[in-house]
Assembly symmetry: C2
Homo-oligomer: 193 residues x 2
DNA sequence: GAAAACTCTTGATCTAAATCAATAATTCTT
DNA sequence: AAGAATTATTGATTTAGATCAAGAGTTTTC
């Protein structure tokens, strides 16, 4: 149930068996069917989810009703609305399952308590938050400085599994494009090679 | 010298006078003239800088030699290449001063040591990293879902001082636009109101 | 297993932003 | 103070991406 989570944890900050059991006591498991919500706009985000298996997305609804996808999370990644989680303010985003998914959940209260009790947990989430920041910074860099072709190629190399597990129109949304344009970008790339 | 830094720190995590003196012993001050580098591409980023006064920017050079500005930092903000800082890998970015600036510097070694010795420092940088993440996520959201007009208006409300202290062509770079297009966006906005 | 819903591609047209080019205003330099 | 560099605006043209529209292939669903 927690295999990937602790594999991930141990790769970042090594744990003893006892420490692992202690941390495990603060975690719960949640299974979501495709299209089920983890968070809906207006609710306060009270947890951070680690994707053991599956694909999740965080998105907002535009004025015209279009889904603007901000973040994907596949196996081994975290997902939450950090703003709402930290401030306790209602979220402006939705989080739902793109495919049937298995999540390891830690609530805010559990996380706050655990941070005080475990220096290793504290270190773990600090490093994970830093990594998440770096990833977003990379994405900003590619959005403002690369061509569509190069942005798509970058996605392919950085997150090959996302590309293959998520419908193309969601990738288009994630890149801020229409599905038609993404289809043409892909065509241009395959013709070139 | 450290006024703003500790003002900021105390607003986030309150410190006693003794704690403040202790943390201060890990910090140094650096003054940069306009256009001076804090970090150059290829160097390892060995510090995090807090802007006491001034404006800094982080950018990369595109293949065509264009400057792609990823982040600005004015008074009260931090700037670093977090990837290089954490991994010790050479940076792909430049950081320089947009105007004469006064920085509070903490080196990697000082930061690592201080994190172990001060739970409050640990908490401070955790919260600051989280805030930085949230800011980038907001920016991604606006890039993929808003019109240029709305993106510029958002910048105006979120960072009014940046707009007024930084040349417009740098704002254009930061938004991933040409200076001409930004000039026209601004014109459209002023005509509307 | 047929109908409905979703997914992707392709074409034609329109529109917004980039590019090219010129000019004026401002600020550095020496 | 004069010349050079930087900065911002505006116009004309080109180009990349959005929009509108249709169709074919897949997957869901009942």
């Amino acid at each position: 149930m927690f295999e990937r989570y602790f594999q991930h944890f141990n790769e970042t900050v090594p744990l003893t068996a006892a420490e692992q059991e202690f941390i495990k006591s603060y975690l719960t498991v949640k299974k979501l069917r495709k299209r089920q919500y983890l968070l809906q706009e207006g609710d306060v985000c009270n947890c951070v989810a680690f994707v053991e298996k599956g694909v999740m997305r965080l998105y907002r609804l535009g004025d015209d009703g279009a889904e603007n996808i901000i973040v994907f999370a596949t196996d081994g990644y975290f997902i939450t609305d950090l703003y709402s989680f930290i401030t306790n303010e209602p979220s402006g985003y939705h989080i739902d399952a793109v495919e049937d998914s298995e999540l390891v959940i830690i609530t805010r209260s559990a996380s706050d308590e655990l941070r005080k009790l475990s220096a290793k947990y504290q270190e773990f989430i600090f490093l994970k938050t830093s990594e998440a920041y770096i990833q977003l910074e990379r994405r900003i860099t590619s959005v403002i400085s690369l061509s569509l072709e190069d942005r798509y190629k970058e996605l392919l190399t950085n997150f090959p599994d996302i590309i293959h597990r998520v419908p193309q129109h969601m990738i288009a949304s994630y890149m801020g494009l229409t599905p038609e344009t993404l289809s043409r970008v892909r065509k241009r790339i395959t013709i070139q090679n």
